[in-house]
Symmetry: C2
Subunit: 240 residues, 2 copies
């Protein structure tokens, strides 16, 4: 009994030491750090303290130090953080330096918008191709990215290393396309289809964009804001 506990204790401690147990809350904040540090770098700033950064980003200095420490000591006592170094480190953590590749499936307005943006390049992701069913655009290029038929999607993914599949197809087609990509070895799916793909999470990582959910959250906030000011104009007087 005792020995089993000991083994477990050791195992758990080692896991913690390996530091691949970064809290999800921290990971979700990393891109935001990356963004702000990139801006500061562009401004030509060299160093920053957690206190200063905390003011700019509207979070606590404590949280910044705690977060960054999940990955090791990026700062220096009495000095703060070297912006260039920190930015580079976070880039690395986020895989910007991995040189991932992507295909965009669905060349509608959203697909085109994603073809046009510099968002991918900035994050080290190369867009290899667009795929669509529309014969009139197959064989052309959109913003410099070649457009192929969805029929060729499987073969393309098999023959090229495609890390990420971007799904901007109508809801009805989403699952079939996703399955094709997974079977062809795509590791991650960036899903703009208005549905949750039920895929084996051991086979593929899915990152969902639910624009509708975001719009609804905004509506909720609007509603609660108006309710407070309209329905309770005398709340002060009520307190006592």
């Amino acid at each position: 009994m005792e020995s089993i506990d000991k083994i477990h204790g050791t195992f758990e401690r080692r896991l913690a030491e390996q530091k691949n147990v970064v809290p999800p809350a921290v990971i979700k904040r990393l891109p935001r750090y990356h963004r702000y540090l990139g801006d500061l770098l562009a401004e030509g700033k060299l160093r920053i303290s957690s206190a200063e950064l905390s003011e700019i980003m509207n979070v606590t200095a404590s949280q910044i130090r705690q977060d960054l420490n999940c990955f090791g000591g990026f700062g220096q006592q009495g000095y703060g953080y070297n912006i260039k170094y920190l930015h580079a480190k976070i880039s690395e953590l986020l895989g910007v330096t991995e040189g991932y590749s992507a295909v965009i499936v669905g060349a509608g307005n959203l697909g085109r918008a994603l073809a046009a943006t510099r968002m991918f390049g900035r994050r080290g992701v190369t867009r290899l191709a667009l795929f669509d069913v529309d014969e009139s655009i197959i064989g052309t290029e959109i913003y410099g990215i070649p457009v192929y038929s969805v029929d060729d999607l499987y073969d393309f993914c098999k023959n090229n290393r495609v890390d990420i599949g971007v799904l901007t197809v109508p809801k009805e087609a989403a699952y079939a396309v996703a399955k094709t990509m997974v079977e062809a070895g795509v590791m991650g799916i960036w899903n703009f289809a208005n549905m949750e793909l039920k895929l084996n999470s051991k086979e593929v990582i899915v990152e969902n964009i639910h624009l509708g959910d975001s719009l609804m959250t905004l509506c909720y906030e609007l509603k609660s804001r108006t309710e407070v000011s309209e329905k309770k104009p005398h709340s002060e007087a009520d307190d006592e």
Copy 2:
């Protein structure tokens, strides 16, 4: 001393009873409940228990009951939840029934995509107009929505009740447009510009879409996934 405590106790209890202290974590989950319940409704299902819903949505039944109870008893012991009723209640909470209106500023690919989608209508939001600087499209309609000059944005918002401003303009123009809208009385901004708008949060509610952050999160997951399988193939043997 005692009496002050009592007053505070009463005050706090009243606040809790008013239930405008819904935890942020719960609010963020509401749109997802709404989505799933909408699907179940479309399937013609009449009732569901927290246990059944929890399996479909991949959350705990406890969380579902806890969440829904923030807004009052929507269910019935021994029966579960009436899907139609629950869906309607959540719609109400999320402001779907408020009949909000929106304008989209920026008629690029993203603006067009937002003009084309049924996402707004489904959530009770009417798109009144698009605004752009491109003379060649001003005066036309895109997916049935009239396109006006950005120069007319202020007057339009003043003369019509515009609740939500959707920002799909380039980064450089974002802040000026946002300020114009706030001055003209727009209450909420749905911000797709790749930057954080520093606006007085008392004047306006801002909901940000940071697509780049989402892409980076996906890359992070890809990276940590590959690291685990590549760098530690003998982790099992290591445990002891």
